[in-house]
C-alpha cells in the first residue's frame, strides 16, 4: 500500500513536471522570455504541491475516501463559521449536560457499591404501616433476636445514630463526626482496614474496652499518617481510647464524611444511658448465596412476629409492625434517585432540542446548498456517497460538540463539588471515568445520526429537474417540504422546552414557598454551635447544668451579643419526641404519633434570643432554672390547640398541669405560658406540638448554643469558642453556623435540582426560541414575492405584520399545547421534590404557557417587521 503510494507520488511528480516543461517551452516558442514563460506555466497550472497532495488523497480505498469526506467537511464548515459555531455550541450544551448528569447517575445509582460482593448486601429496618411510619429503627433486643434467628444471612450488623465525638489529643480539642457500629461491620461489608485491625466481638459488649477506628483522612491530618498509630491512645469524649485501625480512603459507611468509628451502636451519647434500650439501631446484612431478598424478608417478619409476641409492652411490638428488607445500595441512594432521573430526563430533552435545532439549521443550509447537491448528483455522485459525505459533516460537528461538551461537563462537575456533595450520597465516587467517556463518545455519534440522518437523506434526493430551475412552483415544492419538516422540528422543540420550563417553574414555586414559610422566629443574625458534652466527664444532670450555668453569662457578656441561650435542639436538627399526660384528662394512646410532643430543654433567654413571640402567660424565668424550683413549662400553640381545641378561646391552658414520659420523676409541671409555633422539623414540615422545660430539668448531653449578634454572626465564632474553652479547655464546638444556613441546609437537594433544572430549562427556551426565529425568518425570506404581491394588491404593513406574527403564534401554540399535555404526564415524577405546589399547578402551567407565547411573539416580531417593510416593487422585480 505504502509502496503503491510512493510510486504514484513519484509518477505524478514527473507527470506534472512534464506539463510545466512543455508549457514553458510552448510559451518560449510564443516569444516569452524564459523566466516569464516559466512563471506563466506555473500560473496556468496552479499549485503543483497541492495538486500532488490531492492526487495522493484521491485513492479509492475506503479510509481514504472517508478522509476525503472529513477534509471536505472541514472545508465546508470553514466556509460558514457562523453555522458551524452555532451548531457546535448547541451540541456542546446538550452533550455536556448529558455527560455531567450521567456521571452523577453512574457514580450514585449505577455503579455497584465498593464493597466485596455488593449484590448480596441488604439493609433492614422497621415499618409501621398502621401508623403510616416507615423505615424506623429497632432496639438491641430485636437486633440480638434477629442475629440469632435469621438463617438467610451470613452476617448481620447494626449501626446507631451519628455521633459527635470530641478528640482532645495534643492541641486544641476537635469535634469529630463519629459512627457507632457493631463489631462485625467490616466483615459484613468485606472491607479490610489499611492499618491495624477491626473490632473484636468482646469490644462490642457493654463495658468492653474502649477502642476506635479512624478514617484515613483523620489519620493523615492528626496522626501524620504514622504507621505506628494503631495501638496508640487518643482521648475521645474525655475517655482514653485505643486506636486499633485505619479505614480506607473514601470509606463512607454508614454515613459519609465520618472521622471515627466506635462499637456498641445503641450507646448514643446524646441520650443518657437509661434510654439506650430505645430503638436507635438500623441494620445491614449479607445474604447467603442461596437466599433471595424475598426469603430474607419473610424470615425477618417471622422473627419480628415472635419478638412482638414475647415483648408486648416494648417499642415496635404493635401488631402491624413489619420488617423492611431492601438492597443496601437502594437504601443508600433512595433519596437521590427521583432527583437524578428527573434531571437525566430533563437533560435528555435538552439534547433532543439541541438536535432538533441543528437538524433545522442543516435543513436551512440544505436549501441554500440544494443547487450544489443537485449538480453533484447530476454529475454522477451516488446517493450513498452523498449521504456519507453529509453524515461525515454531521459527525465532524458532533465530535467537536462532544469534545467541548465533555470539557463543559468536567468543568461544571469540578466547579460545583460542594453543592453536589451536600446533596448526594456517594459523592466521593463522582468522577469522569472511562465509562463516562464512552458514554460521551457514543452519545456524540448517536447525536450526529439523530440530527443528521433526516436532513442528509432529504438533501441527497434532490429532484433534479426541479432544483435546477431558477424559480417556479416545482422548486418551491421541494423547499416547502423542508419548511414543513423544520416547522415540525420547531413545534417539537417548543413542546420539550415547555415541559422543562414547567418542571423548573414548579420547583421554583416550591422554593419560593419554602422561603416564604414564616419560621416563627427571627433567623437573621443568629450564630449557632453544637456542644457535645462527653459522658465521661459530664455524666450527671448537675454537672451538665453547672457547665451551662457557667458558660451562659460568659457568652451573653461578649461585646455585641444581645442575647444568648442554650437548647437541646435547633429547628431543622434532631429532636426528641415524647408522650405526656394532662392532669384531669384521659391518658392518650401511647405511641400514637399525633399525641407525641417535641421536648425542648432551654435556658430562660431562649425565646428572646430567637425572637419567638409569647402569646399568653409568661416566659421561663431565671428562677425557674434553678435546682428544686417548682416545675413549670411553656407550650406552643399547636400543643395548646391539640389539647384544648377551642384555644385561643375557651378554657385557658395556662395554669393546667402536664407530665411528660421522658423522665417521669419530674412529675406534674404547670403550664406558665404559650408561645408561637416554630418549624422544629425544618421549614418544609408543619409545626408540631412542643413543650419547653427549663434546662435545669434535663440538662442536655448534646446542646446547642445560640447567640443573637449584630450583622455577620460568623465574626463571633472565635469569641464564642474562647468563652467555651474558658469554662472547659477540653470542650470543642461543632457545626458553627448561622441559623439561616441551619434552616436552608435542609433545602440542599431541592436547591441543586432547581438550579440544574432551571438552567436546563433556560437553555431549552433559548434553543427553542432560536429555532423558531430561524424558521419564521426563513419563511419571511421565502415569501418575499408573495408579500410583495400582497402589498401591491393593497395589504397594509399591519396586515403583513399580522400575517407573520400569526404564523409564529400558530407554531408556538401547537408546541405549547403538546408541551402542556406532556408536562401533565411527566411532572408527577417530581412530586416528592415539590412543596405547597401540586404537580399540575394550573398557575404554573398557565404562566409558563403565556410567558412562552409572549417570548415567541417577540422572536417572530423581528422577521415580521422585516416582512412588513418589504418594498413591493423590489420584491416583485427580484422574482
Amino acid at each position: 500500500m505504502l509502496f503503491r503510494h510512493a510510486k504514484r507520488d513519484a509518477e505524478s511528480a514527473r507527470d506534472i513536471q512534464f506539463y510545466l516543461d512543455t508549457e514553458t517551452e510552448d510559451n518560449i516558442a510564443r516569444g516569452m522570455p524564459p523566466e516569464e514563460a516559466r512563471a506563466a506555466a506555473r500560473k496556468k497550472f496552479g499549485n503543483p504541491t497541492l495538486t500532488r497532495e490531492d492526487i495522493r488523497l484521491n485513492g479509492s480505498a475506503f479510509l481514504e475516501t472517508t478522509w476525503q469526506d472529513l477534509r471536505f467537511s472541514l472545508r465546508t464548515m470553514r466556509k460558514s463559521p457562523a453555522f458551524t459555531l452555532t451548531a457546535i455550541l448547541t451540541l456542546a450544551l446538550g452533550i455536556g449536560g448529558n455527560t455531567a448528569i450521567f456521571t452523577l447517575i453512574r457514580a450514585v445509582l449505577l455503579k455497584p457499591l465498593e464493597y466485596r460482593d455488593p449484590d448480596h448486601l441488604v439493609y433492614f429496618s422497621v415499618d409501621n404501616p398502621r401508623r403510616n411510619l416507615q423505615d424506623l429503627s429497632f432496639n438491641t433486643l430485636q437486633f440480638d433476636q434477629m442475629r440469632a434467628g435469621a438463617k438467610s444471612f451470613c452476617a448481620l450488623g447494626a449501626y446507631g445514630r451519628p455521633e459527635n465525638v470530641m478528640l482532645s489529643k495534643n492541641g486544641e480539642p476537635e469535634a469529630l463526626k463519629g459512627a457507632r457500629v457493631s463489631a462485625n461491620f467490616l466483615d459484613v461489608l468485606g472491607i479490610k482496614p489499611i492499618l491495624g485491625r477491626s473490632f473484636l466481638a468482646e469490644e462490642d459488649k457493654r463495658g468492653g474496652r474502649p477502642v476506635a477506628m479512624i478514617s484515613a483522612g483523620l489519620w493523615k491530618r492528626r496522626f501524620g499518617g504514622d504507621p505506628l498509630t494503631a495501638g496508640q491512645t487518643a482521648t475521645l469524649d474525655a475517655t482514653p481510647y485505643t486506636i486499633i485501625g485505619v479505614l480506607p480512603d473514601g470509606f463512607a459507611f454508614p454515613f459519609p464524611n465520618m472521622d471515627v468509628w466506635v462499637t456498641r451502636p445503641s450507646e448514643w451519647s446524646v441520650f443518657p444511658p437509661r434510654y439506650w434500650d430505645l430503638p436507635l439501631l438500623n441494620g445491614f446484612a449479607r445474604l447467603t448465596p442461596q437466599a433471595t431478598l424475598e426469603q430474607a424478608r419473610a424470615e425477618m417478619n417471622v422473627l419480628q412476629h415472635r419478638y412482638a409476641a414475647a415483648h408486648p409492652n416494648l417499642m415496635n411490638a404493635d401488631a402491624g409492625v413489619t420488617m423492611r428488607v431492601v438492597w443496601l445500595k437502594d437504601r443508600l441512594v433512595a433519596d437521590a434517585r427521583p432527583m437524578l432521573w428527573t434531571l437525566f430526563g430533563a437533560v435528555g430533552f435538552v439534547l433532543l432540542i439541541a438536535c432538533a435545532n441543528v437538524a433545522s439549521l442543516l435543513l436551512a443550509r440544505a436549501t441554500s446548498r440544494s443547487r450544489e447537491f443537485a449538480v453533484r448528483v447530476a454529475l454522477g455522485a451516488g446517493r450513498f456517497r452523498m449521504i456519507r459525505q453529509l453524515l461525515a459533516e454531521c459527525l465532524v460537528l458532533a465530535t467537536a460538540g462532544g469534545a467541548l461538551g465533555m470539557l463543559l461537563a468536567k468543568w461544571s462537575l469540578s466547579a460545583a463539588p460542594r453543592l453536589v456533595a451536600i446533596s448526594l450520597p456517594r459523592a466521593a465516587e463522582i468522577h469522569l471515568d472511562s465509562t463516562v467517556l464512552v458514554f460521551g463518545v457514543g452519545l456524540s455519534i448517536l447525536t450526529a445520526v439523530l440530527f443528521g440522518l433526516f436532513p442528509s437523506m432529504q438533501a441527497s434526493r434532490p429532484d433534479l429537474a426541479q432544483e435546477l430551475r431558477v424559480s417556479g412552483a416545482a422548486a418551491e415544492q421541494g423547499r416547502s417540504a423542508r419548511f414543513t419538516a423544520r416547522s415540525l422540528l420547531v413545534i417539537g422543540q417548543i413542546a420539550f422546552s415547555i415541559v422543562l420550563l414547567i418542571g423548573a417553574g414548579l420547583l421554583m414555586r416550591s422554593f419560593v414557598a419554602l422561603h416564604d414559610v414564616d419560621p416563627g422566629f427571627q433567623p437573621a443574625n443568629l450564630l449557632t454551635a453544637k456542644i457535645a458534652l462527653p459522658l465521661a466527664r459530664y455524666d450527671t444532670d448537675p454537672k451538665r447544668a453547672a457547665f451551662f450555668r457557667e458558660l451562659l453569662p460568659r457568652v451573653e457578656q461578649l461585646p455585641g451579643v444581645s442575647a444568648a441561650a442554650i437548647a437541646m435542639s435547633l429547628p431543622a436538627t434532631n429532636w426528641i419526641r415524647t408522650n405526656y399526660w394532662v392532669q384531669g384528662k384521659p391518658s392518650p394512646d401511647i405511641g400514637e404519633p399525633s399525641t407525641n410532643a417535641v421536648i425542648q430543654s432551654i435556658t430562660p433567654g431562649y425565646f428572646r434570643a430567637l425572637g419567638i413571640p409569647l402569646k399568653r402567660g409568661r416566659e421561663l424565668s431565671a428562677r425557674d432554672n434553678i435546682p428544686r424550683a417548682p416545675p413549670v413549662m411553656v407550650i406552643n400553640e399547636t400543643l395548646a390547640h391539640l389539647l384544648w381545641p377551642e384555644y385561643p378561646h375557651g378554657e385557658n391552658p395556662v395554669g393546667r398541669r402536664i407530665k411528660e414520659a421522658y423522665d417521669k420523676a419530674v412529675g406534674w409541671m404547670e403550664v406558665v405560658g404559650i408561645v408561637a409555633d416554630i418549624h422544629e422539623g425544618g421549614l418544609a414540615n408543619n409545626a408540631v406540638p412542643e413543650f419547653y422545660l427549663p434546662s435545669v430539668v434535663h440538662p442536655p448531653q448534646t446542646a446547642y448554643l445560640v447567640l443573637r449578634t449584630p450583622a455577620d454572626p460568623l465574626r463571633f465564632a472565635g469569641a464564642m469558642r474562647k468563652a467555651v474553652l474558658a469554662v472547659d479547655p477540653d470542650q470543642p464546638l461543632a457545626d458553627i453556623k448561622t441559623m439561616e444556613s441551619v434552616l436552608t441546609s435542609t433545602f440542599g437537594q431541592r436547591r441543586l435540582t432547581m438550579w440544574l433544572l432551571g438552567s436546563f430549562a433556560a437553555v431549552a427556551l433559548l434553543l427553542a426560541i432560536v429555532g423558531m426565529y430561524g424558521v419564521i425568518a426563513y419563511s419571511v425570506a421565502r415569501r418575499t414575492q408573495e408579500v410583495g404581491i400582497r402589498r401591491a394588491l393593497g395589504a397594509q404593513q399591519s396586515d403583513i405584520l399580522r400575517l407573520v406574527l400569526g404564523q409564529g403564534l400558530a407554531l408556538s401554540l401547537a408546541g405549547v399545547a403538546i408541551g402542556i399535555a406532556g408536562a401533565f404526564a411527566l411532572t408527577r415524577v417530581m412530586k416528592g421534590l415539590l412543596f405547597h405546589v401540586t404537580a399540575t399547578d394550573p398557575a404554573t402551567f398557565a404562566g409558563i404557557a403565556i410567558l412562552f407565547v409572549i417570548v415567541a411573539l417577540a422572536a417572530s416580531y423581528i422577521p415580521a417587521r422585516r416582512a412588513a417593510r418589504i418594498d413591493p416593487m423590489n420584491a416583485l422585480r427580484v422574482g
Binding site: R8, D15, L50, T51, I55, R469, S471
Partner: protein, 115 residues
Amino acid sequence: MPKKTKPEGDLLQGTLDMLILRTLVVGPAHGHSIAHAIEFGSDEILQVEHGSLYPALYRLEDRGWIAAFWGTSDNNRKAKFYRLTPAGRKQLTAETNRWERLVKGIARGLRPAAG
C-alpha cells in the same frame, strides 16, 4: 493557505471527468495536451487551473475508465499518456446521455425566468 481550486472545481468535478473522457475518444494524449484541448474545446469557458485536471486523471485511472502508459512526446520528452478503456467509453456514453437530459432540464427551467 492559498485557494487552490475555485468553487466550481468542486462543483464541476463530474463535468471535468466527462470532458477528459471525451477528449480521449480521438486517441491517447498526455496531461498537457488534454488540458489545452479541454480549454480550447469549451471555448475557454472552463477557466480551470490546469493542475486541477491531474487529480481527476488519477481518479479516472483508479476507476479503470482510463489507462496510462509512459511514452515519448512531440518535444522528445518522457510523458505519461492516457487512453480510454472500454469501461471508460461506456461511462462516457452514459454520462453524455445524462448530461443532455440535465441541459434540457435547465433550458426548460430558464425559459420562463428569462421572459
